[in-house]
């Protein structure tokens, strides 16, 4: 099974650029994951002010909001996609992240088999089945 580990740095946006030491520690951790054969992919993200948000109201109408954003809220700083044998194993790996002032959330990825048949069929119809 697959798990997504989301990193939520609890820092101000001006501190978004990590230090060389932090990057080095994180690289070592990523290497551990890779050597354990469990790392599927990972990415670090630019701060939210350089991105944008599309919000949909209850009618489904989209509104685009460009960064920077006035309100400070919890934002994702990066993610790992890993293969693990249980939630506990994924949590154990999350516990080994060399983090400071951050939160790592572990979420299991939906597999096709987790969906009921009608949902699976809808996926097939939309992807040229």
């Amino acid at each position: 099974m697959r798990f997504m580990m989301f990193m939520y740095p609890q820092i101000e946006e001006q501190d978004w650029q990590p230090s060389a030491e932090a990057v080095e520690a994180m690289s070592r951790y990523n290497e551990e994951l890779r050597k354990a054969g469990m790392l599927l992919s990972l990415d670090g993200l630019h701060p939210p002010s350089e991105g944008g948000v599309v919000s949909f109201d209850s009618e489904g109408t989209a509104t685009v909001t460009d960064g920077p954003f006035a309100e400070a809220k919890e934002v994702v700083g990066g993610y790992w996609l890993i293969q693990a044998r249980s939630k506990e194993e994924a949590l154990e790996w999350a516990g080994r992240v060399p983090g400071e002032s951050c939160r790592v959330e572990v979420r299991r990825v939906f597999e096709m088999e987790d969906f009921p048949q009608d949902v699976q069929d809808a996926v097939s119809e939309n992807f040229g089945g």
Partner: protein, 417 residues
């Protein structure tokens, strides 16, 4: 199982291979190393629910195992034993007392792990024993888990493991990574074990016991570890590429009723793009190395051709046929010839495929293999020779033991495939 026990089990899954490998380097015997590692696990199950999981659980387990080892060897020395055994164990004792309790350096751990992989896959052991020992010592699977995954009784697996460890001990197989030419000779055995584990999981149909599909992930994990530890071995990357690309099709391989869906009829939207990308990247690594691709690399290259085609009609059959030509030279087998005939038939027309089939039609290995008449029927049908095709499909139907496949073949014999 309590929450604490589950957490300890997770730590165990992560640490056990390195622990056994590190201990085996010191004591020189994987069986003894496993016993010591188990002692440490028992100690952890007692201590951690009260104290919590330590900051560096790997180091804790290693230190505990080494202390237990010293106790055990000191105690056992007082019994009368064969001279040689005492000498060997005193050596081990000396090494244990001398060795530092801190974690070994990264590349040392890597070497230990690689030595463990090669020892578990030692050619002295039967194929079944190699598979069981690898899953046990490198995958951290329990005996019941291995038994469930391979649909064999638990005592059978337990016996295989005991015998395997005894064989290694009796033959005094050194715990090391083979060097030079020996490495090249012994690598195929390792690759074979990993691919066997993968296929055991891959062959399981949807909805079967959960542990079987899990074997695919475990094989992928072992393959990736091997490729990281021996980055200069093109076939290690070739095997990873092959497994990643094959695994990318998992969700498309079965219909809603569990019946198998052939590659060209699969819904390619269900193929996992991430695994395809990973597979192609691994294949590029194998291709970038000096020398031609080996059997796994070639099979991966064929799989990659299929993965590149967004629709089945876009498949580059000429390239696939050429790759099968090479594969037939590098690793000849009747099954490769059969696949080659299919590819040649797709690339250059059914008559060309039929011509190739003529060369293997009397091969005893294929005498009871339903795919031979089935492939011939398909090529004959495409060549417009419907009557001959029908008789081949009927013949194939008598040879398959799978009811769904039999139905499909009989329908094709009626011209409604």
């Amino acid at each position: 199982m309590s929450e604490a026990t589950r957490a300890i089990e997770a730590v165990w899954r992560i640490e056990s291979a390195r622990l056994v490998a590190g201990l085996a380097r010191v004591v020189g015997d994987v069986g003894l190393a496993e016993d010591l590692a188990q002692d440490a696990l028992v100690a952890a199950l007692e201590a951690w629910p009260r104290s919590g999981v330590p900051d560096n659980p790997g180091a804790w387990l290693m230190a505990t195992a080494k202390n237990r080892a010293i106790d055990r060897l000191r105690r056992e020395k007082t019994y009368e034993r064969k001279r040689e055994e005492v000498a060997r164990e005193t050596g081990a004792l000396f090494a244990l007392e001398r060795s530092e309790f801190e974690a070994a350096a990264d590349d040392e751990i890597g070497d230990d792990l690689l030595a463990l992989i090669f020892t578990c896959c030692h050619p002295l052991l039967t194929r079944e024993a190699r598979v069981a020992l690898t899953l046990r010592l490198l995958g951290g699977l329990t005996t019941p888990e291995i038994a469930r995954a391979f649909l064999v009784p638990e005592p059978t697996v337990a016996q295989r493991l005991v015998r395997a460890k005894r064989t290694l001990r009796d033959a005094k197989v050194p715990f090391e990574v083979p060097r030079g030419a020996e490495l090249g000779e012994r690598l195929p055995s390792v690759l074979e074990v990993i691919y066997l584990v993968f296929n055991e999981g891959y062959a399981a149909s949807a909805g079967e016991e959960w542990t079987r599909p899990d074997l695919c992930e475990e094989a992928l994990r072992l393959g990736r570890i091997l490729a990281e530890l021996s980055p200069d071995e093109p076939e290690a990357h070739g095997l990873v590429a092959l497994m990643e690309i094959q695994a990318s099709r998992s969700a498309a391989r079965h219909g809603p009723d569990g019946s198998p869906v052939l590659l060209l009829k699969q819904d390619r939207g269900r193929w996992d793009p991430l695994l395809i990308v990973r597979g192609r990247r691994a294949l590029e690594r194998a291709e970038a190395m000096p020398g031609p691709l080996g059997p796994y690399g070639l099979q991966a290259a064929i799989a990659a051709c299929h993965a590149r085609a967004i629709r089945a009609e876009e498949t580059d059959w000429v390239r696939i046929a050429a790759l099968y030509d090479t594969l037939a030279q590098v690793s000849p087998s009747p099954v490769v010839e059969l696949n080659r005939a299919v590819a040649v038939g797709m690339a250059f027309g059914p008559e060309a495929g039929l011509e190739l089939l003529e060369r293997i039609e009397d091969d005893p290995a294929l005498a009871r293999y339903h795919l031979l008449p089935s492939v011939r029927g398909d090529l004959l049908e495409k060549a417009g020779r419907t009557e001959e095709a029908a008789s081949e499909f009927k013949k194939a139907a008598t040879l398959t033991s799978n009811d769904r496949e039999k139905d499909l073949l009989l329908r094709r014999a009626e011209g409604q495939g």
